[in-house]
């Protein structure tokens, strides 16, 4: 049975609460947005418009309802795409016995890892004008090296277990070993990494949109709203503050949620031995030998779960 701290549940609930509002707005907002209505004067407060109007006189609340979808969907697509490339690369390089193939797969990624991610995105944006799909592809690309390395490390550990050797000797197919055993063993690491990665991807997608990459200059997008309505910050702060707060809540909540979801399980902690006042002289040797002695070898096999 796995046990978690009470505080872990509490943190999970906190993350869920923080992320719920922006996520609901992002996914359900467009359904309730309705008709945009006629354009009014730029940067006004009150009147018919609950949150005022933006830099071209559109209703801010309407824009807020529409603006979350691109951020969330682009981030989700980019994360999924990154793993679509990273996981096969990692599994092949973890299971191959041809060292050259592994080098060929993993070394180029090390080079890509050296380039700051935002820089790579701006570099491409200086030549192309990537749309939302292009931005998702780019963000996925900059995330592949790191994701592949982490999955490779987890899969490599699983691939070195005696169970894999046993499966090979039984004549199981490569797919069965790679997906059924090694991939499954790496799943927890992968899930934890996906949470962290999604947070990073959300950061990157919204920052790129703020800098004008992958979005139209007047797009209904929270990050674009923050950028374009900054000029009217003195007159009409809501057009900036509301989308900025939503982005803060979205990223913060996602991070809190995934951190709580993959918090390490509670291991009953052994209390440290009391230190006698008199110093080491009075310390008795502890019954410590058995802890250092070799463990029975069956552990590795059982650890991987049911044999496929």
């Amino acid at each position: 049975m796995t046990t978690y701290h009470v505080t872990t549940y509490r943190r999970f609930a906190l993350g869920l609460t923080v992320v719920a509002v922006p996520l609901a707005l992002a996914l359900l907002g467009p359904l309730f947005a309705g008709d945009p209505g006629p354009r009014a004067v730029s940067f006004t407060l009150g009147g018919d418009h609950w949150l005022g109007t933006d830099f071209v006189g559109r209703d801010v609340w309407h824009q807020v309802l529409l603006g979350g979808r691109t951020v969330v969907l682009t981030a989700l697509a980019a994360t999924a795409l990154a793993y679509l490339v990273a996981v096969p690369v990692a599994l092949v390089s973890a299971l191959t016995r041809v060292r050259r193939l592994e080098e060929l797969l993993m070394r180029p990624l090390d080079v890509l890892l050296a380039v700051p991610s935002l820089l790579l995105i701006l570099l491409v944006a200086s030549v192309f004008s990537p749309g939302a799909a292009g931005l998702a592809l780019l963000v996925a690309l900059v995330n592949v090296p790191d994701a592949a390395r982490i999955v490779r490390a987890a899969a490599g550990e699983a691939a070195a277990r005696p169970a894999v050797e046993a499966l090979r000797m039984q004549g199981e197919s490569w797919w069965r070993i790679a997906v059924g055993y090694v991939g499954r063993s790496a799943l927890r690491t992968l899930a934890a990494d996906a949470g962290i990665r999604l947070t990073g991807v959300l950061y990157l997608v919204s920052t790129a949109a703020f800098l004008g990459v992958g979005v139209a200059p007047d797009a209904a997008d929270w990050a674009v709203m923050v950028d374009r309505n900054r000029t009217g910050l003195m007159v009409q702060p809501w057009a900036v503050v509301v989308p900025a707060l939503l982005i803060v809540a979205l990223t913060m909540g996602t991070n809190l949620l995934f951190d709580a979801a993959f918090a390490p399980r509670v291991v009953p902690r052994v209390a440290p031995p009391e230190v006698p006042r008199g110093g080491v002289g009075r310390l008795r040797p502890r019954w410590g030998w058995s802890r250092r002695s070799p463990r029975p070898q069956g552990g590795a096999l059982r650890k991987g779960g049911r044999q496929p």
């Binding site: 505080t7 943190r11 070394r107 180029p108 090390d110 080079v111 890509l112 050296a114 380039v115 700051p116 991610s117 935002l118 820089l119 790579l120 701006l122 570099l123 491409v124 944006a125 200086s126 030549v127 192309f128 004008s129 390395r149 490390a153 987890a154 550990e157 947070t199 959300l202 950061y203 919204s206 920052t207 703020f210 800098l211 004008g212 990050a223 923050v226 950028d227 900054r230 910050l233 003195m234 702060p237 900036v240 503050v241 900025a244 707060l245 982005i247 803060v248 990223t251 913060m252 996602t254 991070n255 809190l256 951190d259 440290p272 031995p273 230190v275 110093g279 080491v280 310390l283």
Partner: protein, 351 residues
């Protein structure tokens, strides 16, 4: 997995090499094995660094010039007028094969010649030297505050593990860690600069003389610090908790070594290795953060130059800045890996 390895390391030579030269002198054989094991690692890491530098240069070139299709048409973008396309083609020598242009450009880079801007005809190096000051100032200030703040918070939290201070520091750092700079910056500007009028909202009007107006620097540095401080302090906290729970820390306590000495002289150096690496990754973030912060606070630094060049599709300037940023990142990561390996030789720091 690195932490597991790192957790093993301090028991042995990593701790010895830092915590006291006396222990090192007692074990001359061990020392010599370490130094011989260090050399191949350095060679390998330097080779990788060299490959990464070459890779960055190739990647920058490939992404901006060796595109499928006609680069001149793509660059002309919104104004596909034939005269402009021809001008771009001539300015960038697009009629010559890509490998020749790459060779010319790369040899130019070696001599410090980054080419000339398409938009203004000024040399790219001039752009870089003009804008270098503000960015360097921002980065230096941020780093100077980042190290004491990050380590201080991390040690503070680790010292009070599980208590209120720790929970407060941990949850705040966890929450702020993920927030994009622009959103946080805009909110801070709204509250601190516009509502309370404590600080100027942007650096407009100060030009490159930012040091003369320290008030204008407070918000940019604060925003730049937000993410790196969180990641660094979380890592230091985790490393310190591991190190303080380790047998050698317990042993030092049994000998009656004072708590502060155990924390700072014995445990902290071992929590340092992952933190040193994170510090380099952080500088990578700083480069990204600087772009956003300069755009947000209208500071005329390298980030602003890069964004303007991207908007104008001024490829030589973008290339030059990308190479500068990329090579800087490679060098910093190289330095951090070497330092981290020096601190925990057994951990086999991933290159």
């Amino acid at each position: 997995m690195t932490t597991q390895l790192g957790g093993n390391a301090p028991k042995g030579r990593g701790a010895v090499s830092i915590c006291g030269s006396a222990a090192g002198r007692d074990q001359p054989r061990r020392r010599s094995t370490r130094t011989t094991a260090y050399a191949p690692f350095v060679t390998r890491r330097l080779l990788l660094g060299g490959a990464q530098t070459v890779g960055v240069v190739l990647l920058v070139f490939a992404l901006t010039e060796a595109l499928p299709g006609d680069a001149a048409v793509a660059l002309a973008g919104d104004q596909p007028d034939p005269a402009r396309i021809a001008a771009i083609r001539e300015a960038m020598d697009l009629d010559r094969p890509a490998y020749e242009r790459l060779a010319d450009w790369a040899t130019g880079l070696l001599h410090g010649d980054f080419g000339t801007s398409l938009a203004s005809g000024r040399p790219v190096t001039q752009y870089i030297t003009d804008a270098f000051g503000p960015t360097l100032l921002l980065a230096t200030l941020t780093l100077a505050l980042l190290v004491p703040l990050g380590f201080g918070l991390g040690v503070l939290a680790a010292r009070h593990e599980g208590r209120l201070v720790d929970r407060l520091v941990s949850s705040v750092t966890l929450a702020v860690y993920a927030v994009p700079e622009f959103a946080l910056g805009v909110l801070l500007v709204t509250v601190l600069a516009l509502k309370l009028a404590w600080l100027p909202p942007t650096a407009v009007g100060y030009g490159t003389d930012l040091l003369g107006h320290p008030a204008a620097l407070v918000l940019p540095v604060l925003v730049l610090l937000s993410r790196p401080v969180c990641s660094l302090s979380r890592l230091v906290r985790a490393g310190m908790i591991d190190a303080l729970a380790s047998p050698y820390a317990a042993h030092a306590r049994r000998y009656g070594v004072p708590g502060a000495r155990v924390r700072y002289a014995h445990a902290l150096p071992n929590a340092l290795a992952p933190a040193a690496q994170q510090l380099a990754r952080t500088v990578d973030w700083l480069l990204c953060g600087v772009i956003v912060v300069e755009a947000l606070f209208v500071i005329p630094g390298l980030g602003t130059v890069l964004l303007n060049a991207v908007a104008e599709r001024d490829v030589p300037v973008v290339q030059g800045l990308a190479v500068v940023f990329g090579v800087l990142t490679v060098l910093l990561n190289l330095g951090a890996d070497l330092v981290a390996h020096r601190l925990t030789p057994r951990a086999g720091v991933a290159a």
